[in-house]
């Protein structure tokens, strides 16, 4: 069983409660195994997830009852789940409390199936926020699966992709900078680049020069460009 312990470190441990959840089919990029865990998905040493799902009515439901052998039959599942939730309106709260303080990152993964979920989503939002859980919303089983996979895969990943190191080639960086100007698109960037030769020339261009550039001639574009270049302090 020590072998399986090593194996389970690289895998998502899935609670038996989740048996039959169609979501499991969509965890493909990492291994997962059933295990006795308090949370629904144990994603790493310090992170875990609870899974809840909204169906086409006004309350959030839980997939706890997959264990009851409902399996993939979604229709049947729904009715059971509905009843279950009505019996346990504080389900999420109880589940969170059960987790105690054992995890640094506690995710509530909320599967939003339908549009009309505003009220129950607010409920869930509030519960998660007040009980130190991070709420992630997903709109399909695929997306749910991907969140679980990603959190597992990125367990030890540094944050550098979040720190603005985007593509390093000149053009994407140029695009990245210039398209921060509203109403400037990529065609405009190409036009600006080929008309002025370098970014410093573009930034130093007068309104008139900008307006001469094909496609930039629209006043909306040239004047907004100009206002970007001429002041750091605005006059609104």
């Amino acid at each position: 069983s020590s072998g399986s312990a090593v194996q389970s470190r690289n895998a998502i441990l899935v609670s038996h409660r989740q048996k039959g959840n169609p979501l499991l089919k969509h965890i493909r990029n990492v291994k997962w195994v059933f295990a006795d865990v308090v949370c629904d998905y144990l994603l790493g040493q310090t992170s875990c997830a609870l899974y809840i799902r909204f169906f086409n009515c006004t309350s959030p439901f839980v997939v706890d009852t997959y264990i009851a052998g409902i399996g993939d039959n979604a229709d049947k599942g729904k009715s059971v789940l509905l009843r279950y939730h009505l019996l346990h309106p504080d389900y999420l709260y109880f589940r969170i409390r059960e987790l105690q303080k054992n995890f640094k990152l506690r995710v509530v993964l909320c599967h939003v199936d339908v549009e009309d979920v505003i009220k129950p989503l607010h409920e869930v939002t509030r519960t998660a926020l007040l009980h130190d859980c991070t709420l992630l919303c997903a709109w399909s089983l695929e997306e749910c699966g991907r969140y679980l996979e990603t959190i597992k895969v990125y367990e030890n990943k540094p944050a550098d992709i979040l720190q603005g190191q985007t593509d390093t080639d000149y053009l994407s960086r140029l695009n990245h900078a210039i398209t921060s100007v509203r109403s400037v698109n990529k065609t405009d960037v190409v036009n600006l680049g080929s008309s002025f030769g370098s970014l410093s020339r573009i930034m130093d261009a007068s309104m008139e020069e900008l307006a001469r550039c094909p496609g930039i001639g629209e006043r909306k574009v040239s004047s907004s460009l100009e206002s970007y270049f001429t002041v750091f302090i605005n006059h609104w």
Binding site: N29, T134, R212, G217, F232, N234
Partner: protein, 894 residues
């Protein structure tokens, strides 16, 4: 004071006010006390909504003091706009004051369901006055003494016509595809609608809610249609070379994805556009491009003939101007003899030429000053040079690595269009070399000319030129067939083309300052045998005006002759009003239309739209349900059971006495958005301040960074979000990232099918996952809409203490900076410019402030030497990175 909204028409407003009423612009440059002082004086004040609402909320402007509120551009309003917020606050404190809203854009008032009614309701306005052009009094007034109108129909050249037809055809095909998707109301999908910008809105309004379910193709169609409309528009506004250049860049930036580019018609567009500029011919002449010969192999007998087709309207414009001048002289003659002084005023008058955009203005001005031929030559020169630059760049790239993958879609340029077969490829290559050769020659020529030798002799090896010339003349002649005006002169003029610049007309005033250049060209062109110098006729002084500038040029310039170069319905209305306000003035208006063009079609359609809009407004007015409030002039507001009570809430403290008033601290910059308005509607007290950390502070513990979906993607990409979350987590116990979806768009990021099979670092899911892994204390809040956000805020605020304004303002501010009381600067950072700055390589969260302190603007930054940068940024490496990026040669992607 009467605060007004929009700055643009204010000059005409101030002019029409009775004298003695002082008017003042209130900008946020003015420090608080000065604004306060202005507000208490009795004058007309012009304000932007953003400054007005902040001053109302901070009570810098007591809501009870203004006599009334006039709002311009009412068609831009909605329930959630700041103006509605202002009107609500204002009315509540000041029920006796008036609120008026104006718009001159009838079609915009019927876009969307019940728009007028909704706008009226949100401003609490009960009466609607409509003054359509066809209303009896309006018509009488305007038609009693109408201006003389000359409608000039200019035929397009055959190539222009060909391009137009092809674009319309492609457009039709795209619309057909769109129809097949069954996603958009079929009635709206006509080419005529497609000519208008509002078409995008129509389509987007229908597609937005299901945007995530659409396939890539449908999305592409939407953007293709937009590009096609631009192509039609630019066909009329741009010269042939610029048009080709635009097409080239479009092919580069859109080529791979776009659907229409691979149709036969689009092939035709590109071919014709090219034909307007140059032609490839087989030639036996030896032309100095030996280097290329070696590269290209045996077959270098292709040469390039310039065509450089000029815009037909250019010539017509000049003819009209000449005619005007001639008429004036004739009239002036008898006046000299006799003592009739009737038309003296008329004589010195400037002719107003109205174009759509600045670019056309500048180019037409050049055409009159330098001659159309030279203008074309200059554009052509630019075009060739950028081709040459690209070539040298590609060579470098090839040396560096075989597969320059960094440029992504740009590879498309180098490669021929996939549809073309091998044969065409070699032709393409030849064409490429021919262009390069021409570019080389051009560069040589330029060098010699800038070498200041006035006596320069033009390079003799340019036989290709000749053919180009004669072709140009021919083509223009065919296009001229049924031109209404002054045909004979035109021929001569055209033949001389290049010479027109030699004889400068006294009236343009500007002597030929660029004499060396001009002369160089003149000499150079004298080789063309056909061109005999023909004296150009004098033209009157001309004022060019771009319609998009949007100020009341007519009242300022007071012209008696107007040439509408790009006809526009709004400007026509302005002219009518101007004429009827100045009944004694003789006014002659020329309209220049391309015959059988989409320009004409669009103009006619816009008249129909205007009428249709008014008719529909009249119908709506007759069936309008206006709540008849007992307050008479202060009907409040449907969305608003809250609104009414809320306004009293702000004073008395609670709609039910038991309920405590909730307070939210809001960053100044957030007043660009509608959320403060909606929060206020919910009964919260809004405290505007400048926050260094976060956008909203709900309690001493809860701080919120709010991101719309597009903001979210953008600030993830820039790294800004990471930084924001980092500081928020440092200073607040419950840092919250609020992800706000838009009500009319779908509530989801992407469709399951867009997800892909693997975990990829670029996906939004990956970024969010990584973010929560690094900031496990960060709380995410997912909001369906603005209104949902307001709901969530009040939920989150329950059982929390109220936030502390003074503490919130100090959070995250470096302690040595301190807080300056009433620091107006702090409110006014040009956040977009700063965003731009922060996206530059080398610029980081720690050094961008230094840069901003060291220079006033991005354009100043562009000129700073690397040593200065190093000083400001505190790092030589960072400075080097930034400087290198700024100076890097942009690939000219033609």
């Amino acid at each position: 004071p009467h605060p007004l909204r929009h700055p643009s028409p204010k000059s005409s407003i101030s002019r029409n006010l009775p004298t003695g009423i002082p008017t003042t612009d209130v900008s946020s440059d003015l420090p608080g006390p000065l604004r306060r002082h202005l507000y208490s004086s009795s004058r007309v004040l012009f304000l932007t909504p953003r400054i007005l609402i902040v001053d109302l909320l901070t009570r810098t402007l007591p809501a009870s003091s203004p006599a009334g509120l006039i709002i311009l551009n009412a068609h831009l309003l909605s329930e959630t706009s700041t103006e509605a917020f202002i009107a609500r606050v204002f009315r509540a404190a000041n029920p006796a004051a008036y609120v008026r809203a104006f718009t001159d854009n009838a079609p915009a008032m019927v876009a969307g369901f019940g728009k007028v009614e909704r706008v009226m309701r949100c401003l609490g306005i009960r009466r609607l006055a409509l003054w359509p052009r066809f209303q009896v009094y309006v018509a009488e007034e305007l038609e009693s003494d109408p201006p003389v109108v000359v409608d000039v129909r200019v035929p397009m050249t055959r190539s222009m016509r060909g391009i137009q037809d092809a674009v319309v055809e492609v457009m039709g095909a795209c619309l057909g595809e769109m129809r097949k998707t069954n996603k958009v109301d079929v009635d709206e999908l006509t080419v005529e609608n497609g000519l208008f910008k509002s078409f995008d809105e129509i389509v987007r309004r229908q597609l937005d809610p299901i945007w995530h379910t659409l396939g890539r193709k449908t999305k592409q169609l939407v953007s293709d249609l937009r590009n096609l409309r631009k192509l039609l528009d630019y066909l009329i506004r741009y010269d042939a070379v610029t048009y080709l250049r635009y097409l080239d860049t479009l092919r580069v930036s859109e080529g791979v994805r776009s659907i229409w580019m691979f149709t036969d018609s689009s092939h035709k567009i590109f071919e014709l556009a090219k034909k307007r500029v140059y032609r490839l011919v087989h030639s036996r002449w030896e032309i100095g491009w030996q280097q290329q010969k070696n590269e290209s192999g045996a077959n270098s007998e292709m040469s390039l003939n310039e065509v450089l087709e000029e815009s037909p309207k250019w010539r017509i414009l000049r003819e009209i101007l000449e005619e005007i001048e001639e008429e004036r002289r004739k009239k002036a003659l008898p006046a000299e003899g006799g003592d009739e002084v009737l038309d003296v005023e008329f004589e010195n008058d400037t002719v107003l030429v109205a174009c759509k955009d600045e670019r056309s203005c500048m180019q037409l001005e050049d055409c009159l000053k330098k001659g159309t031929h030279q203008v074309m030559q200059e554009e052509w020169g630019k075009y060739l040079l950028s081709k040459a630059e690209l070539h040298s760049l590609q060579k470098q790239n090839k040396k560096k690595r075989r597969d320059p993958k960094g440029f992504g879609v740009l590879n498309g340029v180098v490669l021929p269009m996939p549809r073309e077969n091998a044969d065409a490829t070699s032709v393409n290559k030849l064409e490429h070399y021919a262009l390069l050769a021409a570019a080389l020659q051009r560069r040589k020529l330029d060098k010699e000319m800038t070498g200041n030798s006035v006596e320069l002799v033009a390079p003799s090896e340019k036989p290709g030129k000749l053919m180009g010339k004669s072709k140009m003349a021919k083509e223009n002649k065919t296009g001229k067939a049924n031109n209404a005006k002054g045909k004979k002169q035109a021929d001569k003029l055209q033949a001389s083309g290049s010479e027109s610049e030699a004889h400068n007309d006294e009236s343009t005033g500007e002597g030929i300052s660029a004499s060396t250049v001009t002369k160089g060209f003149q000499k150079y062109n004298q080789e063309v045998p056909a061109s005999e110098p023909v004296p150009t006729k004098p033209i009157p002084s001309v004022h060019f005006y771009a319609l998009e500038r949007g100020y009341d040029i007519l009242d300022v310039l007071r012209p008696s002759i107007i040439i509408v170069y790009h006809p526009d319905i709004a400007f026509v209305r302005e002219i009518e009003v101007y004429k009827s306000e100045n009944p004694s003035r003789i006014l002659k208006v020329y309209f220049l239309f391309y015959e059988d063009s989409t320009e004409l079609q669009k103009f006619e359609a816009s008249i129909r739209r205007e009428n249709g809009a008014f008719e529909s407004l009249i119908r709506q007015k007759s069936s309008m349900m206006i709540p008849n409030d007992q307050d008479g002039d202060c009907p409040l507001i449907a969305c608003s059971e809250g609104a009414l009570t809320n306004s009293s809430t702000r004073k008395a403290g609670g709609r039910k006495e038991a309920e405590k008033e909730m307070q939210v601290i809001v960053d100044m910059r957030e007043f660009m958005s509608s959320l403060p308005n909606v929060l206020h509607l919910k009964g919260m007290r809004i405290i505007p301040v400048t926050l260094e950390v976060g956008d909203y502070v709900l309690s001493p513990l809860i701080c919120i960074e709010r991101k719309s979906i597009s903001d979210l993607f953008q600030s993830f990409a820039s790294g800004r979000l990471y930084h924001q979350v980092e500081v928020m987590s440092r200073y607040y116990k419950i840092p919250v990232l609020l992800i706000e979806f838009s009500q009319d768009k779908s509530f989801s990021f992407q469709s399951a099918s867009d997800l892909g099979d693997d975990v990829t670092p670029t996906s939004i899911i990956s970024k969010l996952s990584l973010l929560v892994l690094h900031f496990p204390r960060l709380r995410l809040v997912w909001s369906r809409s603005l209104h949902a956000t307001a709901e969530i805020f009040s939920l989150l605020k329950a059982n929390q203490d109220e936030p502390d304004e003074i503490k919130a303002v100090r959070v995250g501010v470096p302690s040595d900076e301190g807080i300056v009381e009433n620091d107006v600067r702090a409110e006014n950072y040009n956040t977009s410019a700063i965003e731009f700055l922060r996206r530059l390589p080398g610029v980081t969260d720690t050094n961008y402030r230094g840069l901003m302190d060291g220079c006033e603007s991005l354009s100043e930054l562009a000129l700073l030497p690397v040593e200065m940068l190093a000083e400001l940024m505190g790092s030589k490496n960072a400075a080097r990175t930034l400087r290198d990026f700024l100076d890097a040669k942009c690939p000219a992607m033609l």
